[in-house]
């Protein structure tokens, strides 16, 4: 990093030209931010494919050290920035949250790629978390699968801009100067499925409710798994506008009676084929009528 003091000058007080490279008059916030934004050390922490592009960004061709991301540190205690570079799985989110809690303030999270931003191509997978922001506060999202090194650099520069905009006078911007130590983010628990401790109450309520309704219906022998998505038929036949989010209190059960067996799968395919044929016929007739006109 070249030290450019003119960059820091932020007042109307004139600095004599011959001293410009030695003296800067600026605000405390700006000085503070200037120091922070140019010494962001990312954590050496790769999750999946995106990590390879992160390494490429760190290597000589792209070289994020040029922007002050000097060196990657493997220990969270020396890192300012967590680049979540890849698919966050349920199994991995537990250590990630622990690592985040071990990072000293001020700390930032950059979600690199589609997976870390929202689940990405693997979103529907049973072991995949739909985005890092389900568990940790994310400062910058970088789209892409994987984002090119240029995109990652852009995201990192965006983070620097964010820091530039913070003010030391504003407690919300610099909460780490507040009273008391910061609350650690609760670490998720791996039970039958992953459990976010912040949702414990909600889960308990839902479970009780489920149990009660079951008793009322007298259907104790129903299969074990509790499906929380609205019933499949409702979902697939509902018009887009009607597919409203499930009411927070209502548990819409779909009790899985089993996946589609081989034979039924064939039926689905057959139906699809017929639909496709129908569409084709429709298109043909439309074309024919258009030609007539």
């Amino acid at each position: 990093m070249d030290l450019n003091l003119q960059e820091l000058n932020a007042t109307e007080f004139p600095v004599p030209a011959e001293l410009e490279s030695n003296i800067a008059i600026t605000s405390l916030s700006q000085l503070y931010n200037w120091g922070r934004r140019n010494s962001m050390w990312p954590m050496l922490f790769g999750l999946a494919c995106c990590a390879i592009e992160m390494i490429a960004t760190a290597s000589s061709r792209f070289d994020f050290s040029r922007f002050g991301f000097e060196v990657m540190r493997a220990t969270p205690r020396q890192a300012d920035l967590m680049i979540v570079s890849g698919t966050v799985t349920k199994k991995m989110v537990v250590p990630i949250v622990r690592l985040y809690n071990q990072m000293p303030e001020p700390k930032y999270v950059l979600a690199m790629g589609a997976c870390a931003s929202g689940g990405g191509p693997f979103k529907e997978g049973y072991n995949v978390v739909s985005g890092m922001d389900k568990y940790l506060p994310v400062d910058v999202y970088v789209p892409g699968c994987p984002p090119t090194p240029q995109a990652l650099l852009y995201g990192m520069i965006a983070l620097q801009r964010k820091i530039d905009g913070q003010s030391i006078a504003n407690g919300d911007d610099v909460p780490w100067y507040g009273a008391g130590s910061a609350e650690p983010t609760p670490v998720p628990v791996l039970g039958p499925d992953i459990i976010d401790p912040r949702q414990m109450d909600m889960i308990r309520r839902q479970a009780e409710r489920a149990a009660q309704e079951m008793t009322a219906l007298g259907t104790r022998e129903l299969p074990a798994a509790m499906q929380l998505a609205p019933a499949k038929t409702a979902a697939s036949t509902a018009a887009p506008a009607e597919a409203a989010p499930a009411n927070g209190n209502a548990l819409a059960y779909e009790l899985p009676t089993g996946g589609t067996p081989w034979t039924e799968a064939e039926d689905i395919r057959e139906k699809r084929r017929l639909r496709a044929l129908a569409r084709k016929a429709l298109r043909a007739s439309r074309r024919a009528s258009a030609e007539e006109e």
Binding site: D193, M200, I203, A225, P240, A243, A265, R273
Partner: protein, 624 residues
């Protein structure tokens, strides 16, 4: 003296002969698999163990490539284990299967015959719920202990379940967008079983890991050989660790600095590739394969399209890929092998202490190849380049890169000129430079000779593949042993080293780099000669999104990390099907970890990361 051995001889001992022999000795336990499109034999699971021994010892199929489960819900309602065995001297596959009930699934473990079945059987238990009596350590491997259900079963549904098969009605053809979170009460990708006990919620997954190793506490008191009381320490490495090549974890016990046992713990990047793959259409899966071994996406594409092409060739309308298409495929695959080996060697150096400086040189070369991929396929890493019966695109006349802001050599270049320069100058120069710095380097030799030794017998028995196998003196390279594409007519040697240590594996990789260059040199004239030929058999994208006829197929390729196989079952139907019924990836990174335990025993803690680096794993493929 270890030198590049001549190609493994192609033994032509027929598979039929082997099957006949088995049928003669076990007439009631063996029947031919005569379902349409299937091959191989079905073995009575009561006698599976005996028959497996005969297959290994008498028939010589000493290498168990793949063992995987299939759930035939609605088609016989049974579970099936499918095994693919090979002779390490080369030749075709012996496919045998054992069936069991879905409800109380149980199949004898084959770990005592082929140690390589170890992780694969654990995976089948984890994802399918098949128990394997006789398995020494049957516990979950990809999911955590305590997870509800066995997710790959056809009647198990994930929280974001929408429909059985893609394309989902909600997205196509009518199509509207919704966020899956919105349909879930918790706004997350979770679903809990009804019997969830919320009164005592503890994360037992960690305890389970240590308990299964017989480790109750962190420190065990043991007596050393002189009668002094000493402590055996449990050291946990990963999943966050600078040298575990991703989110991989090892639990070791150490006596002083010496490792007494090592247990890989994985699944931290288990992204449910196979479950998603079985909902996807065949075409959907190609970009997903890119994300398996994300260092060499071209190789992953290749294995997958080969497997699907095998199935397609059972149908009526199928055209073989053209010669140009095959040549292009081989070129791309060899380029990714170069990328892969450069990367592997570079990061292995990281692991043994040359932190990040040498690897910069290799990444530099990789960038150039990625520029080429980007110009041809549109993406640096996730090339998504191959199609069934063809390719996404032919080579452009000139390479014009749009996103290369810093490297301008590639801005606008004649493609063939670029390739020629790369193959005849740049890559060989990089390899020379690499060898000059490393091969005789005293520190490197000190660190790596005689460390992490794997004997040839173990390598075969543990189903090791790729440079790990060849570094142990087994000249087994699928490009020669069971040739595919146009490798048969290409002139190259199988790299092999006898020592079985880290250094030998390094040497194998360097040799393979040179062999890849040699192959590329032969490919370029072939590309010139086929200029103008279409990459599609009939000149237009024929089998772009095919309907695949009934049957099973196993396509395997020699990828940078070893044998990459795809086992695919198509449910067929009247007009073929667009979605696979079973889609399994035989991942070399996963199976190569099976011998990690025996390879590290007795070495120092500091060697462990080096040994892991010398296996060369990628977590996307290990955990899938």
């Amino acid at each position: 003296m270890p030198t590049a051995a001549p190609a493994a001889p192609l033994t032509n001992t027929s598979i039929e002969g082997a099957i006949d022999h088995l049928k003669a000795s076990y007439p009631d336990a063996i029947s031919a698999d005569d379902r349409e499109g299937y091959g191989g034999i079905i073995v009575d699971s009561a006698q599976l163990l005996d028959i497996a021994r005969v297959i290994r010892d008498e028939l010589g199929f000493d290498y168990l490539s793949s063992a995987t489960a299939v759930d035939y819900l609605g088609a016989g309602d049974h579970m099936e284990m499918v095994y693919h065995a090979y002779r390490s001297s080369g030749g075709g596959t012996l496919v045998f299967k054992a069936q069991t009930d879905r409800d109380n699934a149980e199949i004898p473990s084959l770990v005592s015959v082929w140690r390589g079945a170890d992780f694969q059987e654990r995976e089948a238990w984890d994802l399918y719920g098949i128990r394997f009596p006789g398995h020494p350590n049957l516990k979950r491997i990809l999911m955590w202990e305590g997870f509800h259900g066995h997710p790959m079963r056809k009647d198990w549904r994930e929280a974001y379940y929408e429909e059985e098969l893609k394309p989902f009605d909600s997205r196509w053809p009518g199509g509207h967008v919704h966020r899956a979170e919105e349909k879930n009460v918790f706004g997350k990708n979770v679903s809990y079983p009804r019997e969830i006990d919320l009164s005592r919620l503890m994360d037992t997954s960690e305890t389970a890991v240590y308990q299964s190793l017989g480790l109750g506490v962190d420190v065990e008191r043991v007596m050393d050989k002189d009668g002094f009381e000493t402590n055996e320490l449990v050291v946990n490495m990963g999943p966050h660790h600078p040298s575990t090549h991703g989110v991989f974890r090892m639990v070791l016990t150490v006596d002083g600095e010496t490792v007494t046992s090592l247990e890989p713990v994985m699944g931290y990047l288990h992204r449910n590739h196979e479950k998603i793959g079985e909902r996807n259409t065949y075409l959907h899966n190609i970009p997903f394969t890119d994300r398996l071994d994300y260092i060499s996406s071209m190789g992953n594409n290749h294995g997958y399209v080969l497997a699907v092409e095998q199935l397609l060739s059972l149908g009526r309308r199928y055209n073989e890929p053209t010669y140009r298409c095959e040549a292009l495929r081989v070129m791309m695959v060899e380029l990714s092998r170069i990328v892969n080996h450069l990367w592997a060697i570079g990061f292995w150096l990281n692991d043994i202490g040359a932190f990040f400086t040498p690897v910069l040189y290799f990444i530099q070369e990789r960038e150039r190849i990625l520029d080429f991929f980007e110009a041809v396929a549109g993406s640096r890493m996730m090339c998504n380049y191959m199609r069934f019966g063809g390719l996404f695109a032919d080579l452009p006349e000139r390479l014009k890169s749009v996103s290369n802001l810093t490297n301008d050599r590639v801005r606008d270049y004649n493609t063939m000129q670029f390739l020629t320069e790369m193959v005849s100058e740049r890559i060989p120069r990089t390899i020379d430079e690499l060898e000059q710095l490393l091969t005789q380097n005293e520190i490197l030799i000190e660190r790596s000779v005689g460390v992490g030794v794997l004997s040839a017998e173990d390598a075969i028995n543990y189903s090791a593949a790729g440079p790990l196998l060849r570094g142990s003196g087994v000249p087994y390279d699928i490009r020669r042993a069971d040739p595919y594409s146009i490798y048969e007519e290409l002139d190259f040697d199988v790299a092999v080293e006898d020592a079985g240590d880290m250094y030998a594996r390094y040497r194998v990789r360097v040799k393979e780099l040179r062999e890849s260059v040699r192959i590329l040199r032969q490919i370029l004239p072939r590309l010139e000669a086929t200029k103008g030929q279409s990459i599609w058999a009939d000149g237009k994208p024929g089998a772009y999104a095919p309907r695949v006829p009934l049957g099973e197929a196993y396509g395997r390729v020699e990828n940078g990390k070893g044998e990459l196989g795809y086992y695919i079952v198509s449910a067929g139907g009247r007009s073929g099907t667009a979605n696979p019924w079973r889609y399994h990836v035989r991942a070399p990174s996963f199976i190569n970890l099976t011998p990690m335990g025996i390879m590290s025993k007795g070495y120092k803690v500091a060697d462990i990361v080096g040994i892991l680096g010398s296996i060369d794993i990628v977590l996307g493929e290990t955990d899938r």
